[in-house]
């Protein structure tokens, strides 16, 4: 039982990070119906921003987090402006390929600048407590609480503010929204900033939990976050959060009861089974095909 509780805590930690990245995918998809495949690499850039800020500027945690989020958000906005916006009317696949290209560019550019894996110096001192036989680390709790806070803020932004209303309007109907006075390009830029900023935050949190970072770390984590977004129902914000925690839980439970090399195998088989029975994801609405 304590073992299960312990694993549950680990699952929450991994799931929080997946959920934060999945939100970036789902926000962009909701507003542009486009999969931003460079998102996993923006997450990696977030971790590298954290490394630069700690190792070279010597900043404490909060400025590091803000700096990384802003840096990644700026990069996300620039990518949208120069790579995706000209393709908004083009066939969907060319946007997807461009996104893959941007992702490859970010990976290899980072690799060219930093050929070896880097280690982020410890940022927060990590304390351990034992509660009912379950060991809690302050870092783990911090990661979980901070991600939940960020998700809560995002939910508020989308559901309670004018900007959020504009986002929902665009995702509802891209042609009518500008007629109602919604500045489409500005809102799309902002959505990219928010989504990629969350990815950057996830990069920092991931760097706290696993301090050794390399330019390809975003590939696998990014695809898994994408899977979380799809499992939850892509385009649905609460779905992305749920999907992230489900994937985290499945992965951790597989590792807890099977050899760890089976982690990806079992996780993906379970996801396939889920998609066969519920192809639109958990909270997604079934697509209707019309002729």
């Amino acid at each position: 039982m304590t073992y299960l509780l312990q694993q549950f805590l680990n699952a929450l930690q991994v799931g929080s990070i997946y959920a934060l990245i999945a939100l970036g995918y789902t926000l962009v998809y909701g507003i542009l119906t486009m999969i931003n495949f460079a998102h996993g690499d923006l997450f990696m850039i977030g971790a590298f921003c954290c490394f630069l800020s700690v190792a070279f500027l010597g900043l404490p945690f909060l400025p590091t987090l803000l700096l990384s989020m802003c840096g990644v958000a700026l990069l996300g906005v620039l990518i949208e402006r120069f790579a995706y916006r000209p393709l908004r009317q083009a066939p969907r696949v060319s946007a997807i390929i461009t996104a893959l290209g941007v992702g490859l560019f970010l990976e290899n550019f980072t690799l060219a600048l930093s050929p070896y894996p880097q280690q982020i110096p410890p940022l927060l001192d990590n304390r351990m407590w034992t509660l009912f036989g379950v060991s809690l680390s302050s870092l783990q709790i911090f990661i979980i609480v901070l991600s939940l806070l960020l998700m809560f803020l995002l939910d508020l932004l989308v559901r309670r503010t004018m900007v959020g209303m504009a986002m929902r309007a665009i995702s509802w109907d891209k042609t009518v929204a500008p007629l109602m006075g919604v500045p489409v390009n500005a809102v799309i830029s902002l959505t990219f900033a928010v989504g990629t900023g969350l990815g950057g935050a996830a990069g920092v949190l991931y760097g706290l939990a696993y301090p050794v970072i390399d330019p390809y770390m975003g590939v696998m984590v990014g695809w898994k976050a994408f899977i979380s977004a799809v499992v939850g129902g892509i385009g649905n914000i609460r779905g992305a959060m749920i999907g992230g925690y489900i994937l985290g839980a499945v992965e951790i439970m597989v590792v807890a009861f099977f050899p760890s090399t089976y982690r990806d195998f079992v996780a993906f088989v379970l996801l396939l089974v889920l998609l066969i029975f519920r192809p639109q994801g958990i909270l997604g609405k079934p697509q209707q095909q019309k002729v």
């Binding site: 893959l100 490859l104 690799l111 060219a112 050929p115 090399t261 089976y262 697509q287």
Partner: protein, 338 residues
Amino acid sequence: MGRNQEREHRTKQGLAGHRLLPVLLAGLFIVSLAIDRFELLDPYVQLIVMYIGINIILTVSLNLVNGYMGEFSVGHAGFMAVGAYTASFLTVKVLPVHLAAWFFPLAVIAGGLAAAAIGLLVAVPSFKTRGDYLAIVTLAFGMIVKSAVENIDALGGPRGFLGMEKLTSLPWVFFWVVFSLWVIRNLIYSNFGRGVLSIREDEAASALMSVNTKQVKVLAFAVSSFFAGIAGGLFAHLLQFINPRTFDIIKSTDILIMVYLGGIGSLAGSILGATVYTVILEVLRPLGVWRMVFMPLLLVILMLYRPKGITGLREFPWFIPFRDRLAGTLSREEGREP
């Protein structure tokens, strides 16, 4: 000239072209045999040419599903892995060493068949899901293959698998490239191929027009994965070493890029895309690690200025069967759309 005379004239011209093609291909095959036998080409150039050939097979097979059928499959390297491991396991562990060279074609075909069998499994979810959800299914499948291989000790697990002789040669690659192009061209311009295209344009409408969409999808996935498996077998016996990481998402991404770089729904596009991508990567090799920085940048620029790829749904006339070409040109002259 009257219309009938015109048609007769065109028919004669076209038939002459069609009689020329097998001769040309046979000639090229003999040239490739000679190059292989007498080492007429620099071994490095020969290697690159073989990589181009293997990439053409991969690109054209993925183009069948992604370009012609309009699905978004992102796990093509998984099929390649199945073919590569099956063929290598057969030539190294099952067949006697001195006979391996003779049974090599059979081993490659067995690899293709194994990949096709797996392709049938992947086709089943495609009945219900489309678009991004099918992308996830194929993506997950690619990862499942990779981690399954990592957990099978007989295949070397994460350490990889070696011991293959270098059995892939220029004539074999040439043969398989021509064969895959021939099969896929004939499929596209057959009744079945019309079904594939109609699924891309509108699946519900094509089902209403009595296209058996399930059958078409199963066959398209099976053929596509068969040739991916073939390419895998050839690749394994060229490199003489494979490991699960050879066939990860980055390999799948490479194949996707070649398809969309060349142009979807076009055989000429697949050939161009695979050739241009492979050659540029080789030409940029002196740049070292910066090579992979410039390549994606080129890709993004190409997509911004030519979003449909190099050929963009157009086809090299030789790849269009004669009757379709004739119908096209005649109706165009009469001012109708083909």
